[in-house]
Symmetry: C2
Amino acid sequence: MTKVSFDRQPTSFDVARKAGVSRSAVSRAFTPGASISADTRDKVIEAANALGYRVNELAKGLSSKRSSLVGVIVADMDTPFRAAQINALTQELVANGYHPILFTADGPVETARTLNQLLHYSLSGAVVTSDAPPSEICIECARLGVPLVLINKEDKLPTVDRVVGDNDHGGALAARELIASGCTDLIVVRPRRESYSMETRIRGFSAAARAEGLEATIVEAGPQTYDGGRQSVPALMQRTITPATGLFCPMDFMALGMLDGLRTDHGLTPPRDLCLVGYDDIPQTAWQPYRLTTIRQPTVPMAEAAVSMLIARIDSPTTPQRTSVVPVELIKRDTTR
Amino acid sequence: MTKVSFDRQPTSFDVARKAGVSRSAVSRAFTPGASISADTRDKVIEAANALGYRVNELAKGLSSKRSSLVGVIVADMDTPFRAAQINALTQELVANGYHPILFTADGPVETARTLNQLLHYSLSGAVVTSDAPPSEICIECARLGVPLVLINKEDKLPTVDRVVGDNDHGGALAARELIASGCTDLIVVRPRRESYSMETRIRGFSAAARAEGLEATIVEAGPQTYDGGRQSVPALMQRTITPATGLFCPMDFMALGMLDGLRTDHGLTPPRDLCLVGYDDIPQTAWQPYRLTTIRQPTVPMAEAAVSMLIARIDSPTTPQRTSVVPVELIKRDTTR
DNA sequence: CGCCCGACTCAGATCGTTTTCAGCCCCGGC
DNA sequence: GCCGGGGCTGAAAACGATCTGAGTCGGGCG
């Protein structure tokens, strides 16, 4: 560990001296809406620019007890939908003057651990898209005044806000599209690991099917990945597949794997031999070999909703818990008729 | 803006009082390697646990003039390769006790603006995988003692470390694979926007081709996306494509678009009608419809290299600039013979 | 002319750490 | 018996901002 000295960042004191004002004036010059004359502000800004002054966010956060950092906790970051989600979230946060500090977490326990780490910074808030953290830590966040927004997670606590896609309606859209394609034998693929989104999508699907007098069969499948989808095909083949078969896989990433499995290993090509609807509308669904009919869950509006809820709660922490439901949309491509 | 009061986080003072020691002792108890007796440490830790004490990272950073935050600047975050890269980087940083603060930036200018913002935090360092920032800001970082690591960027400055894939060798591997497949008419696709990686890969390819007595033709193509790849196919069709045509697209994401364009719009299927090699080994290349032969640029080792260089420079800031070259590997699939 | 109010400014306390410095205790060596 | 030094500890000074309370200065109004 060698010792080296670097040029010090100029402080508000340096700027104050150069501009011939007090440190408070410097602070006010950089605080929108503070009580300061245009004259003084200009002097300060000029001096600041000349010196290359940067407000020290750490000191700012320490003294105001709130940093402009926002925790973002994600799972499966390298998955197409998640990647798009983080991208949207990051941009939206930065656009609103916040800075995302990013963590990955695999289960609820690790999410809690991560959230705990995040609380070492005086966060403005946190967005969780991995797993719903245990209520204990959520309450802790509320106690400390750190707003929490969960994306696509179940409603468990009165202290956390939520953004969800309209899973119920999405499932229904899928069911109706399959029925409109002439499918009477409806099958739903349920990924191995349970999750709120999958369950609600499937529920919406089943309900809509029932409304049309059809009972959807549920088939247990593999993990939520491309390979998981592909590996789930054999289980599917236990049933007889006919052109009247309508398959709903509530996650595109898996659906693409299934599609490849169906075609390659069993010579079954939608929409001729069966129909297939996915969920999410990841970019790959539009690629030539797939052209999958799917339900679009728009990442940008969801990110906007999440950030705006976060900001709303920062501004008025006592408002009752809110859930923002983001509309979804059927994207009809070539795997339905 | 309503006012609400929350429970205060306990401070080192609270812990100190409870444990019957001084604040300094508390600080030392949480500083590995500090001069403190096991006895005192245990007392402190116990008191800390009882109170739910968390070290305030902001205060810590302010006082020690160095936070455990590391800036990560990325472009095209929702692209498969980039997503994998951020994922690896995040995990590696966290594993080493650092916390990534994430930004997106589109060009060098925006990267500079972002880096500037990041300097408001007393960063431990920054990793840039978007565009190489202007040297001005790099020098500023060096002046302030903030180590910078560029991934897959050109070597311009003596003050920044770099991690690069072995692009030269990767290009050569691609060329040799095509030649081994019996291709004598070598074509390289050059994406519209120039970038260091693309250029060096192409250079490596051309050099290896020339070593075998073949001259590679360069075709200008579209942007670095799936659609960009697909749209580049017509330009390619200006030339006569034969089974002896060996195509090198130095980016998988584009290559997949090209592959789809070639097959769908022109009925050309590798490896029968031509050969194709990509670069990066994004997950989709292994998917059934593609099975693209490609050069694997391993994200995890690159992330490890980046973080370890960062740490090395934090520990000893004066060591000379280093460049870490990460080996690449040919992944032979079904688009070559 | 006096008073008050609003707009602005400044000094100084504060935020929660780390870090320096001085001091204590105890042990071993001379 | 004295001295030196290593281990450990606590008091207090940074660190670089915000924020509060006190004060100044004009200007409008009675």
